[in-house]
Symmetry: C2
Subunit: 323 residues, 2 copies
Amino acid sequence: MNIDMIRSAATRLDGVVRRTPLLSSPFLDEIAGRRVYVKAECLQHTGSFKFRGAWSALTALPETERARGVLAYSSGNHAQGIARSAALLGVPAVVIMPEDAPALKIANTRALGAEVVLYDRVTGDRAAIGAALAEERGLTLVRPFDEPQVIAGQGTCGLEIARQAADEGISDADVVVCTGGGGLASGIALALAETAPNLRLRTAEPEGFDDVARSLAAGTPQRNDRQSGSLCDAIVTPEPGALTFPILKAHAGPGLVVSDDEAMRAVALAFLRLKIVVEPGGAVALAAALFRPDLIPGDAVIAVATGGNIDPALFAQALSMHT
Amino acid sequence: MNIDMIRSAATRLDGVVRRTPLLSSPFLDEIAGRRVYVKAECLQHTGSFKFRGAWSALTALPETERARGVLAYSSGNHAQGIARSAALLGVPAVVIMPEDAPALKIANTRALGAEVVLYDRVTGDRAAIGAALAEERGLTLVRPFDEPQVIAGQGTCGLEIARQAADEGISDADVVVCTGGGGLASGIALALAETAPNLRLRTAEPEGFDDVARSLAAGTPQRNDRQSGSLCDAIVTPEPGALTFPILKAHAGPGLVVSDDEAMRAVALAFLRLKIVVEPGGAVALAAALFRPDLIPGDAVIAVATGGNIDPALFAQALSMHT
């Protein structure tokens, strides 16, 4: 992994990806006691940053390989990124999703043109299911995060942040990123290290699923005890990636951790103050930026709102509890 | 009013205004049977396009006049645009608001630093209240739409649309704009007529408050029977503006009209498919783009989502009814 791969991915994404805005509100600044900027990746195609990595990976494949089709496993956002990218490129996509994934994400993945195969998150073995399907149909597996061209695609978000921060006159800040397997966080970390070393990556995770924070503290990969049971479904992963963790270890500051309740408060504040729709797993970075001021240095902080694919009932619950 | 005033306003807004994105979704394209693009002005500072006109008007005032302070009357979005602009420029602002304006808009206007004076929409005379205050304190009135520098500021949104449409390869389309007094619609109409004559302005209004549509059809200004009773509070005005109507008459196609229920469906679809928060009055253009395909020509349409300052309970209602 290196910056040249991210720059190449940016070239392939040019004219396709949406350059998402950097939003702010004096009301959020007041809560955090500093300027707060939110990179609104929930406004990306398919409602999350995952479109970047999916498009990057699919366009990096040799044409004959891509034409046979691609395979992904995902709780929802990678699924939609793959489905949409494959549809735009005119190739088949099969996505293996846990049967307890949000109904909206499953429905959207199908509607975007992918074939969806459901499995049981606790008893099923998605890797085995995927391997069998790949073998049978000649599909190429696109991993959700531990895949160089996916990390390169996500890193393009970091190139945009570096430019937008310069435009806003932000000379020095932590960049807080919602972190599951670490694809986005490691891609942004690499991009910032090369193009804006004054911006430092920080990971944000939900309580009980803070494998990256504990891994960064220990210096070696740590696992989560549970694999489900958080509102932040988008970023629940068993452990940091083999490719992503070394990058985070080299570049990231101490990991930040917030509660599900804080994530829901951030969802409500993003609605109220920024007019964007963010899912809980996409709001943990904003929650950390707002509610962990003692752990974040400086007079400005940038949080990435990574996705907005939230079931309407859960969104209504965030509003009724926190506005 | 001319294009040079809009270009001057764009210069004054440069570096301050947010260049809002043009969003899209294959799910919306399918509903409308054509490509649908949404200019997300709900992501503008203070949650609506009104910040453009407010900043334009305040920065066009002579410095000594501006320093004495400004006065506005508004149901909420102009109020917040004025309050925020005045705070950023360090001058006092007094805003006269109807007492039945959404609680959130009143609270935000105060929190943004303006003094709020409430009046009764049916029995009160806001013009008289404003004139007395202006006299007493030496305040300059900034009208919400019938004010050349406000129209010029709103027109900068049209300059952005012209550039973004060209970037997207949109060669020919209607641009549907939520219309109350017509400040935004007339500003955009002027900007498009000069810079993108292949983009045609269309107004969108709620049923029962379709004064502009009827005025365009009649060729002379028509009044609404009622002054309240729509969910689309942001765009309920008694009649078209004296400055704005001649511009619309010269440049706009036939006016589009949607029901409150259709506006609420558009609010829900903007949540689900674009991940933006839009208020009913800010969603009538999207509703028209989606639900009036027979009245809109061509294979692409651009709708301006003008504002996102919606009370959480009403937003939750849109989601529970329409998702």
